[in-house]
């Protein structure tokens, strides 16, 4: 299933592949954003993060977000992947690659895509501790 999914994946994200996906003779600037599972002081002994999603809606919503970016920045080429399932510390949970003739568009589209993804994608995460305990991470109200 996941191999066929355009935006969600339960496998580590291959950034080199995403860069290749957006490469074109007309691209002058390419921006790759990686969101990484970060260890902070209050996390204690977090071992991994488990991402879960409302899969069908997440696919639709991410597709809408990408379509919006393509409409706003017509020359931009976009690759986006979000992990579901267990993600180890240090691994990317989300990767967004944008390529455009002019770098300002690649940066602007990249920023739009990550901000909207965080704001709208119906995805949740649970911290898993070495002790075996787990905790849902607080989020923000999802918004269309």
């Amino acid at each position: 299933m996941w191999a066929m999914s355009p935006w969600l994946t339960d496998q580590p994200i291959d950034v080199g592949q995403l860069l290749a996906d957006v490469a074109s003779a007309g691209a002058g600037g390419t921006v790759a954003f990686l969101g990484t599972v970060r260890r902070s002081v209050e996390d204690g002994d977090v071992e991994a993060i488990e991402y879960s999603a409302y899969d069908a809606m997440a696919e639709d919503e991410l597709g809408r977000i990408v379509a919006e970016a393509r409409e706003r920045w017509p020359g931009v080429r976009i690759a986006l992947r979000h992990r579901v399932g267990l993600v180890a510390l240090g691994e990317a949970s989300v990767a967004i690659v944008t390529a455009a003739p002019h770098r300002a568009d690649a940066y602007a589209a990249s920023r739009y895509l990550i901000e909207e993804t965080k704001r709208r994608a119906p995805i949740w995460k649970k911290e898993r501790f070495a002790s075996g305990q787990a905790r849902w991470v607080d989020g923000q109200r999802g918004g269309g």
Binding site: Y54, A58, H82, I123, Q140, G142, G144
Partner: protein, 88 residues
């Protein structure tokens, strides 16, 4: 109105993440009066014992798209109460 009553619309309410965990299941079947809205479905969900954790104005989706409370539901619709999102 109870399931099977003439004119009732039947919708599935999907639960996710902490809501599914608290409810012990990932879906509810609701039967609502004709003309019922997303807000009506939410009100029905609030009668569940676990639903105290649902905030006053949660995000709601109808058929995999965020929807306002006044959106009218149709028979067979998929409603979801979206817990605060934490992707990215």
């Amino acid at each position: 109105m109870t399931p099977g009553e003439p004119g009732a619309i039947r919708v599935t309410v999907r639960l996710f993440a902490s809501y599914a965990e608290a409810a012990g299941r990932d879906a509810l079947a609701l039967s609502l009066a004709p003309g019922a809205t997303a807000a009506d479905a939410l009100a029905a969900v609030r009668r569940e014992p676990w639903a105290a954790r649902v905030p006053p104005s949660p995000a709601v989706a109808v058929n995999r798209r965020y929807a306002a409370g006044d959106v009218a539901l149709a028979d067979g619709d998929e409603v979801a109460i979206i817990p605060p999102v934490a992707g990215g």
